[in-house]
Amino acid sequence: MPDTTRYVRTASGSVMEIVESDPGAAGMPEGGQELTDEEGQAAWAEAEARVTAYAEQLRAADDARHEAAYNALLEAGIPEPVARDISGYQRAPAP
């Protein structure tokens, strides 16, 4: 028998994609809600988007912190390549 796939939204808001050799064999987490395939795929995409958005938020904060360190080092008279190396600032210098 081929494996089957189903989607569940848990009580905490996470989204599960469950693949089973026997339908239902993996049970249902307490407080979980079974989703249709269409609902599950939409919930999955939304959850992935929120994970990506959080990563982008952190990335932007990293960039801002690195840029501030980079500028501070330049203002302190540190040569540009050294300031870039120390700060971790990765943006290419303006031409």
């Binding site: 848990t10 905490s12 994609e17 469950i18 050799s21 993996a26 992935e48």
Partner: protein
């Protein structure tokens, strides 16, 4: 008319004195010097025949039968769970961790006759996001399997590694079903470490031999 069996009823059967015809599995002519005998092989094993040999049975159709045939089965489930709220890794600092997910699998013995043994293998993978100084660990069945810390100056995204563990060696009664439960834990969280995904496999190999 001849009489037999001490009665006046006529004989309806006679005892043959000619050799019995035998087929596969039987030998002998049915006489005292050549008794009708099951044709068997010599016991070739070092263990005791009386203790360890299987039985021979007669079914409802009068056919000789041996012990039940060996059966096996395989069951598995995988779960890919995404956490849109990017939860913070628990700070639990001990060897057990804090349970953050449970996975279950119903496992059925395909043999209605005999107890089965089931070997269960699990795999777990957790995606961590580690800001500078961030630290996280995950546990399989309360055993710490992976710990990582970001000692650099930039965030590490989706840091993960997949670990496996053979965690179950259990028995299932004839025709019965057990529910296996896998505890996935986390701990040693620090520095704003979060997780966004837990993937797992539970694989069961079931044998009734």
């Amino acid at each position: 008319m001849s009489k037999c069996c001490g009665s006046n009823r006529p004989c309806t059967h006679v005892i043959s004195r000619s050799p019995l015809a035998t087929g596969c599995g039987l030998t002998g002519g049915g006489s005292a010097t050549s008794p009708l005998t099951a044709a068997v092989s010599a016991w070739p094993y070092p263990c005791d025949l009386d203790t360890h040999a299987g039985g021979v049975y007669c079914d409802t159709a009068g056919v000789l039968r041996s012990e039940p045939r060996p059966v096996y089965d395989y069951a598995q489930s995988s779960v890919n769970e995404v956490f849109p709220d990017n939860p913070v890794v628990p700070t639990t600092a001990n060897s057990d961790g804090t349970t953050v997910a449970l996975r279950t699998l119903d496992i059925t013995n395909p043999d209605p006759c005999r107890e089965a043994v089931v070997l269960i293998e699990v795999e777990v993978d957790v995606d961590f996001v580690l800001p500078p100084g961030g630290r996280a660990a995950y546990f399989i069945a309360r055993d710490e399997m992976y710990r990582v810390q970001n000692t650099g100056g930039s965030t590490m995204y989706d840091v993960h590694t997949q670990n496996t563990k053979v965690t179950g060696n259990r028995t299932i009664p004839p025709g019965g079903t057990i529910t296996f439960s896998l505890d996935i834990g986390m701990g040693w969280g620090a520095g704003g470490a979060t997780y966004n995904r837990v993937q797992s496999f539970v694989r069961a190999m079931i044998f009734a031999l």
